[in-house]
């Protein structure tokens, strides 16, 4: 393919430059193909393989060692390499033709990739289908499911990079990093894709927030880890764990909160002077719901996506009972 050799030459060229720029160039990742779903792209492996065989040979020449990511699959590695290719072309004021060439590759790959992404949501077993028309738990025939699916708004996850970090060094060399030791003892780093924020502590532990799905959170955490790794620290990717998930939805009718707080006293607290929403502490699953008069519901405290769906299905009939007739 024509696109491969210019890329190859390009990569060779900037490999030298990259080594020099290692200290000065933070890596911002804005890959051109969508990374919303889990990464394995088995179906397109042959498409990728031919394109990236050559760059893979170059990987050993890079000062970056990507084998620190133990759970990364072959496909992920290739995809990571391609990302590196994209960044470099961004950094350098390479000629337009080269960008276009790489652009061609991107288009082709994104075409085949998006084909994969469309099929994977249905095929993948890791994330549950997003439109459950039937409730996940057995339910009496009298009630029916709400037909409303809560949307995930925020995921907080933690990961252990397993090495001591020099925060000043990271803050100086990474782009989009803040460090104010008098205020807070961690580096705050942000990336644009997926749009997230990370708190990186000197012990090597990291908190990643702002992602809208579990896969995005994991991907973002890996990107931060790679940034740290590229700055010269032997970062690993251990114990990735999702700590909290926040979802929200709208039942589309006003709710009479005074009635709800009276009948569900043991679970709900409602102090309108302090907070306009009713705080409902559901026991099973252990989720906190914020219910507002307008009908908006926020669910938080979940470790799994299914807990949010289950909690909403539990509360929906109760809320229907307190619907405010207009």
């Amino acid at each position: 393919m024509d696109g491969v050799s210019p890329l190859e030459r390009y990569l060779e060229r900037c490999e030298g430059q990259f080594k020099d720029d290692l200290s000065a160039s933070p890596q911002l990742f804005t890959p051109m193909s969508p990374y919303d779903v889990d990464l394995p792209i088995q179906t397109t492996e042959d498409v990728w393989g031919s394109q990236l065989n050559q760059p893979k040979d170059l990987s050993t020449d890079f000062s970056v060692d990507l084998s620190f990511l133990p759970d990364i699959t072959q496909d992920d590695k290739e995809q990571n390499l391609s990302e590196d290719g994209y960044e470099k072309q961004k950094e350098l004021d390479g000629s337009i033709s080269r960008n276009e060439d790489s652009g061609i590759i991107v288009d082709e790959s994104s075409l085949s990739y998006s084909g994969a992404t469309q099929s994977s949501p249905e095929a993948s077993g890791t994330c549950p289908p997003l439109i459950p028309m039937t409730p996940m738990t057995p339910v009496t025939p009298a009630s029916e499911s709400s037909g409303i699916v809560p949307q995930l708004q925020n995921i907080v996850s933690t990961v252990n990079l397993a090495c001591k970090l020099d925060l000043k060094n990271i803050a100086l060399h990474a782009r989009n990093a803040e460090y104010n030791p008098k205020r807070f003892a961690a580096v705050i780093m942000r990336i644009r894709e997926p749009r997230t924020t990370a708190l990186i502590f000197s012990s090597g532990k990291m908190v990643c927030t702002g992602a809208k799905s579990e896969e995005q959170s994991r991907l973002a955490a890996r990107k931060y880890a790679r940034v740290v790794q590229k700055l010269g620290f032997p970062a690993k990717f251990l114990d990735f764990k999702i700590q909290n998930m926040v979802g929200s939805c709208d039942v589309r009718f006003p709710i009479r909160l005074e009635g709800l707080v009276l009948t569900h006293q043991q679970f709900s607290s409602y102090e309108p002077e302090l907070f306009p929403g009713l705080i409902y502490r559901m026991v099973k699953p252990r989720i906190v719901l914020l219910i507002f008069v307008s009908g908006k519901v926020v669910l938080t405290g979940a470790k799994e996506r299914s807990e949010i769906y289950e909690a909403f299905e539990n509360i929906y009939p109760i809320l229907k009972g307190f619907k405010k007739p207009s």
């Binding site: 925020n154 924020t197 009479r256 005074e258 907070f275 938080t300």
Partner: protein, 312 residues
């Protein structure tokens, strides 16, 4: 009797001329509506309530307590100390403080922008709870106060208020309900700077700190709530009823429910002037301050200068 009655009235007359700059009257009117008064509480009633709340807060003399301690600011501990006599009200205050902690913890987890604040203030989760627990630990001699933390009794007054609110809202349509909710959200703590001016904090030597201001705002709200509760009781007592000798002994909520359901035609006059009148409020205060029984000087209300405090 006359001395106890005279002092609130006389101070009312004298202190009303003092503060023209900041007035909470419109907010008070909304607050009273949310606590059970009619849709448009009377202006005079609101002015009277404002006076009462102001006087009571000023006369708490929390400053003296902190002077006793040798501290430079009025803190939450001083206010808790003043309230130690009345267990129920103290428990309500504690529940309020815990709820504040809990709510800030939850909202922090949701707002991504507050993530940084969350990390900075992580030591402050449950800070009010710890504060209260430590302090009550230190002044508790009989173990009663600490027992309150485990106590899970239902707060009768709170229950009654909830039931009243529920009944009120059942009849409303969405527009009215939206207004009701908005007025319920009003509180003194939302308008903190106005509240400070109203209390004339700048002229005080010893000023309250942040948590103490929260508690003062809460006490002000409680005072208003208590006044409305009592005034509704008085109003119901004053309502003409058909020859039932024990009608005054039945609980307020019960009577109100029946009155509104059955005798709307008979009480046509009453339905029009449904709002609480200043006379109801004065009568309520008179009754509340009235000493009844042999042990009343030693019971719940904290007394100083002959004034009985509604909030503590």
């Amino acid at each position: 009797m006359s001395s106890t009655v005279a002092s609130p009235m006389s101070t009312l007359a004298s202190s009303s001329s003092g503060r023209k700059s900041t007035s909470f009257t419109p907010e008070l009117q909304s607050m009273m509506f949310s606590l059970g008064d009619a849709r448009r509480p009377l202006h005079e009633t609101a002015v009277l309530v404002e006076d009462i709340v102001h006087t009571q807060l000023i006369n708490l003399q929390a400053a003296e307590v902190s002077q006793l301690r040798g501290a430079r600011v009025i803190s939450a501990e001083d206010l808790l100390f003043l309230m130690r006599k009345d267990k129920k009200k103290l428990r309500r205050l504690l529940k309020y403080m815990f709820f504040r902690d809990y709510k800030s913890k939850i909202v922090k987890g949701i707002e991504e922008d507050d993530l940084l604040e969350d990390k900075f203030n992580s030591s402050n989760t449950n800070k009010r709870q710890k504060l209260a627990q430590d302090f009550l630990n230190s002044i508790d001699q009989t173990g009663e106060l600490l027992a309150m933390f485990e106590d899970d009794e239902i707060d009768d007054v709170k229950q009654e208020r909830m039931e009243r609110a529920e009944r009120q809202t059942r009849m409303m349509d969405s527009v009215q309900y939206a207004e009701f909710c908005e007025s319920r959200q009003l509180s003194f703590s939302k308008k903190a700077s106005k509240f400070r001016d109203w209390l004339d904090c700048s002229s005080m030597e010893i000023k309250p700190n942040a948590v103490a201001m929260e508690i003062l705002a809460y006490l002000a709200y409680e005072t208003v709530a208590q006044l409305v509760d009592l005034a509704l009781l008085v109003k119901q007592d004053m309502a003409p009823k058909a020859g039932d000798p024990f009608s005054h002994a039945i609980s307020a909520t019960f009577i109100q429910y029946h009155n509104s359901a059955e005798s709307t035609a008979a009480c046509g006059i009453e339905a029009q002037s449904d709002a609480i009148q200043p006379s109801h409020i004065r009568e309520a205060i008179r009754r509340y301050g009235h000493k009844i029984g042999p042990l009343s000087p030693f019971t719940s209300a904290y007394r100083r200068n002959g004034m009985t405090f509604l909030a503590c």
